[in-house]
């Protein structure tokens, strides 16, 4: 598709408008000039007709006979288009007629009411005038009643046409000249007023992953029409920068945290290959490698889950939600951690008070509860009881997971929701977690507009309280 140019379009529009205007003005000017010149021509025509009439007089020998002094007729200005005339007396006797009078054609149009008209004779445009009832000039000398004459006079209109043409030429040349000047000025003005746009584009082109700041040039900032564009670009860039930074941080974190599990897997395989071994040894080594692999997989899964929860909380991810019975998700979570608890003789006690429904994804809720339960089991002594309670109150739902473990030291409390935070070795021994469970839980709970709060003192067990808007 051909590109449209604002500049070209504006230029064409304005020049065409100017051209139409000029043509209109020229029309008017020519019309006025022509009328004016024709009026003057008509007056002159009348004068010439009168001067022909003045050449008619009474004969000296026969005072009743009318004579025409043709010798006094002025020579024609243009021999190819001479003036034409015809003079009749009252009794229709022809008194005078110009030598080249077109007898067949006649001169005056048939309509009697018009005393002046345009006419084409021998292919030359003429204007003709007829005056009737003009008394012979020297009738007083004769005495008695005057004789009356009818005169028809025609002259070529070429002087008028020439003059009009000249006027037209002058106006046209002037107009074209003015059009050219105004077009040039228009191009200059358009370029000048579009310049802030290209400067803005230049500064936008310098945006890169290492430079997120848009510095609109002063001219662009001072241009009213560019304000929405600059504004939109700035806020779009801010959004992009945020998303980009988030992604990059996640990637850096992920790369960093993957180093240890990868180091484990690598060292397992390398130590297996350090010397020839028996089939049983290889088998045991490969099983270890598979274990390492499973941990790596679990970490990857957790990290992606966390990233999704955070993206969703930030509103950059949409998902399908349904009305969920919270008690059902609690039971599912208990089912999930049951085996681990059983191994250590730990009982899980579930107390649902009333029912609670939430607009949520059941998998998310189940994951939050099972993370909290896993932690509680992890920190509980063998054969202890982990309690999970649910109640709703004033439009808010509360789920609480409590254990009788050693509690969390006050100094550690602010850090427990940090990614990859792991508690003291004495408490996490043999648990194999990567410290993402609580970070995921917090991100998910906050995505639903809730809060998660630890209540713990060293030596007195831990309660994790989740509050959700029902």
């Amino acid at each position: 598709m051909a590109k449209t140019s604002i500049q070209r379009r504006l230029l064409v529009t304005i020049v065409v408008a100017q051209l139409l205007l000029t043509v209109g003005l020229v029309d008017v000017a020519v019309f006025v000039t022509r009328n004016h010149l024709r009026d003057a021509f008509d007056v002159a025509l009348q004068g010439r007709a009168m001067s022909i009439v003045a050449l008619v007089r009474y004969g000296e020998s026969d005072p009743h006979k009318l004579l025409f002094e043709s010798g006094l007729v002025p020579p024609p200005l243009d021999p190819h288009a001479p003036d034409l005339y015809e003079v009749f007396a009252n009794d229709h006797t022809l008194i005078a007629r110009s030598p080249n009078w077109p007898e067949k054609q006649g001169v005056m149009p048939p309509r009697e009411d018009r005393w002046i008209a345009s006419y084409v004779i021998n292919g030359i445009p003429y204007r003709a005038l007829r005056r009737e009832h003009i008394p012979v000039l020297d009738h007083e000398e004769k005495g008695g009643p005057p004789d009356y004459l009818t005169v028809t006079y025609a002259a070529p209109v070429s002087p008028v046409i020439t003059a009009v043409r000249q006027v037209l030429t002058y106006i046209a040349i002037g107009s074209i000249f003015l059009l050219a000047i105004s077009g040039g000025f228009l191009i200059w003005a358009l370029r000048r007023s579009l310049r802030p746009l290209s400067e803005l584009a230049n500064s936008a082109a310098s945006i890169s992953p290492s430079n997120w700041n848009l510095y609109p040039p002063e001219e662009a900032r001072d241009t009213l029409e560019l304000e929405p564009l600059t504004h939109a670009m700035t806020s779009m860039l801010a959004g992009l920068h945020r998303a980009f930074t988030q992604q990059r941080e996640f990637l850096a974190n992920a790369a960093h945290e993957l180093k240890t599990p990868v180091a484990i897997l690598k060292s397992t395989l390398q130590s297996l290959m350090q010397r020839p071994r028996s089939a049983d040894e290889y088998r045991a080594g490969l099983e270890e490698a598979l274990d390492d692999m499973a941990r790596l997989e679990k970490l990857l899964h957790s990290m992606l889950r966390l990233a999704r929860a955070e993206q969703w909380a930030a509103g950059s991810l949409s998902r399908d939600l349904a009305h969920v019975d919270v008690a059902v998700t609690c039971e599912a979570a208990i089912e999930r951690v049951h085996a681990v608890a059983d191994q250590r003789g730990i009982a899980i006690d579930f107390t649902p008070n009333g029912s609670m429904r939430l607009f949520a994804d059941p998998d998310d809720l189940e994951l939050v509860w099972s993370n909290l339960l896993e932690n509680a089991i992890r920190f509980s002594p063998d054969r202890a009881t982990v309690r999970i309670k649910m109640r709703s109150d004033n439009g808010r739902g509360y789920v609480e997971v409590a254990d009788d473990g050693p509690g969390i030291p006050a100094a550690e409390l602010p850090h427990i929701f940090e990614r990859f935070h792991r508690g003291d070795a004495s408490r996490t021994r043999n648990t194999g977690g990567y410290g993402l469970g609580l970070a995921i839980s917090k991100a998910l709970v906050e995505a639903y507009g809730g809060t998660i709060e630890p209540k713990s003192r060293q030596g007195e067990g831990t309660r994790m309280v989740v509050t959700l808007p029902a």
Partner: protein, 223 residues
């Protein structure tokens, strides 16, 4: 040689320990947190310390600073998941002798460990020479006058330890402490067996004495 690994990832510590035991014949102890690690490093004469940075209780950098502050001179190699310039500079300034970024290569770790131990004892060549005896620490091979001498694993370890400090008197306790991990007391009467085995294999062929016994003090390797 006796090495301490301070690393909270059990599997990683086990794998490194197994590799050091199997391929270099080192005695290896493992600590899983900074507190245990510091205590063990201060109470046992290690020839090398492999130190993770992200440790529970006392982190690796603090452990290193305290160890050096108390005058501990054991060579330290740091194992780190961080590899930014700044943290490496801080590590080396705190007294680390070398570092390896995770995930590392076990072969590289072994080679660097051996080099650190040698340098910690004033040697720089991987082949130790005492008179006409050559001990190739990378191939674990011993030659006298170019002739290969076949030793048992424990005989090799005793000889290598003595060869790292030629001309110095090494007590039986020191040998035990450096050749066994923390159960070394159970093995207290076996050193004589290895010494006599070494003497038989090294000295019989030429007649000249290389391992000297200083009664009540210990042993000395000298050409």
């Amino acid at each position: 040689m006796r090495v301490l690994i301070v690393e909270d990832e059990r599997r990683l510590a086990e794998n490194i320990a197994r590799s050091l035991r199997e391929t270099a014949g080192y005695a290896v102890d493992i600590a899983h947190d900074g507190e245990d690690g510091l205590y063990m490093a201060q109470t046992n004469p290690y020839d090398l310390l492999l130190l993770d940075l992200m440790l529970p209780k006392i982190d690796g950098l603090a452990l290193l600073k305290r160890l050096r502050g108390d005058g501990g001179e054991v060579p330290v190699m740091v194992l780190t998941a961080r590899d930014e310039k700044g943290s490496i500079v801080a590590l080396l300034n705190a007294g680390a002798d070398d570092y390896l970024a995770k995930p590392f290569d076990l072969g590289e770790l072994l080679a660097r460990a051996k080099a650190l131990i040698r340098r910690g004892k004033g040697q720089s060549d991987a082949v130790l020479k005492v008179g006409d005896i050559e001990i190739d620490t990378s191939a674990l091979a011993v030659r006298r006058k170019g002739e290969l001498i076949v030793l048992t694993a424990m005989e090799y370890r005793v000889l290598e330890y003595l060869a790292h400090r030629p001309g110095a008197v090494v007590s039986k306790t020191e040998l035990l402490e450096h050749l066994y991990d923390f159960n070394w007391e159970r093995f207290s009467n076996v050193i004589e067996v290895y010494i006599s085995g070494l003497r038989r294999k090294l000295e019989d062929s030429t007649g000249s004495k290389v391992i000297h016994t200083l009664r009540g003090q210990g042993y000395m390797l000298r050409a």
